[in-house]
């Protein structure tokens, strides 16, 4: 990834951010577009969770990482605080690796 790619991502992201404050009052977002974008973001992030939990490159990442993410899912379901979810996931994966699970 080059400096040019970093700048392109930064410029596009800033454009998304600044458009609302500049256009508010003149343009309104249709509720349908808002619902669709909210849903699309959730689906994209879910796919990112699944691929980054299960895969390393194009191959299976081993059991330790998905196990840590499963612990995180259980804690998120129980409405645990954010730092607890993150630490529990990393700790589970680290301990499993220490025990020899790939």
């Amino acid at each position: 990834m080059t400096l040019l790619a970093v700048l392109a991502l930064a410029a596009g992201t800033y454009a998304f951010r600044v458009a609302g404050p500049l256009l508010a009052g003149r343009v309104t977002v249709p509720p349908r577009a808002e619902r669709l974008l909210t849903a699309a973001t959730a689906v994209l992030l879910a796919a990112l969770v699944a691929t980054s939990a299960l895969l390393e490159g194009h191959a299976f990442a081993g059991w330790a990482r998905p196990a840590g993410v499963a612990v995180a899912a259980a804690l998120a379901w129980r409405c645990a605080p954010f730092p607890a979810i993150v630490l529990a996931a990393a700790a589970t994966t680290a301990l499993l690796r220490l025990a020899g699970v790939p």
Binding site: A10, L44, A50
Partner: protein, 226 residues
């Protein structure tokens, strides 16, 4: 500081501090994963300062470390950040004045939106947005820089389990949105399809295609409007 204590209650300050702590952990893992993966330290630091969006940064990094092209990394990051367009409209009253809004806009993100939307009074909304945005900007960038420098001496972040931290954070962020049945079904289908397609498609592309699952499961009028 005295006016800050008047407009922002103790519980909100504590919650913002908790989120800062969690994001600092994630930021440190982001920096460490990037440099332990062989990237130069300036790259995660520049991404954090200029893009300042954890999900997009991790997604772009994931594509790059998996061997994907820079174009795929930028596209994945931009798709993830498209939601900031909506956040900007929702937060347009608190971002800043005629000139300060150009700086304030850079602080728009998931956490700032969540905290600001909990307030109704204009002064409180502005104060919460500013505090949450600036605190997270400081914590996030310091943590990424520290992680990036530490990561250079680590051969691999695997022993620390840091590779599980990123999906864990994303999962915690999207959990409320998954309460809507149509979104949950589309997310399950999109995630399964992305994993199944990953061995055959260039890195980054399966995740980009996942939202197509919404063609089968459309969010109803009452759903997904958090």
């Amino acid at each position: 500081m005295r006016s800050l204590h008047r407009t922002i209650d103790r519980a909100t300050l504590r919650d913002i501090a908790l989120v800062c702590a969690a994001d600092a952990l994630v930021g440190a893992s982001f920096g460490a994963i990037a440099t332990a993966g062989g990237l130069p330290a300036w790259l995660p630091i520049a991404l954090s300062l200029l893009v300042f969006a954890g999900g997009a940064q991790f997604a772009a990094l994931g594509v790059v470390l998996a061997g994907g092209s820079a174009l795929a990394a930028v596209a994945t990051g931009l798709v993830l950040n498209a939601r900031l367009l909506l956040f900007g409209f929702a937060l347009s009253d608190v971002v800043g004045g005629r000139w300060t809004r150009y700086l304030g806009a850079h602080l728009i993100m998931d956490e700032a939106l969540a905290f600001t939307l909990r307030r109704r009074d204009p002064a409180g909304r502005r104060a919460v947005f500013r505090l949450c945005g600036l605190a997270l900007f400081a914590c996030w960038n310091l943590a990424v820089a520290a992680g990036a420098l530490a990561g250079r001496s680590l051969h691999s972040t695997d022993a620390l389990g840091l590779d599980a931290a990123f999906p864990a954070v994303l999962l915690a962020l999207i959990f409320p949105a998954l309460a809507a049945p149509a979104v949950r079904k589309a997310a399950a289908l999109g995630a399964a399809a992305a994993v199944a397609a990953a061995p055959f498609l260039p890195a980054g592309l399966p995740v980009l295609l996942a939202p197509l699952a919404l063609l089968l499961f459309r969010p109803a009028r009452t759903e997904a409007a958090r």
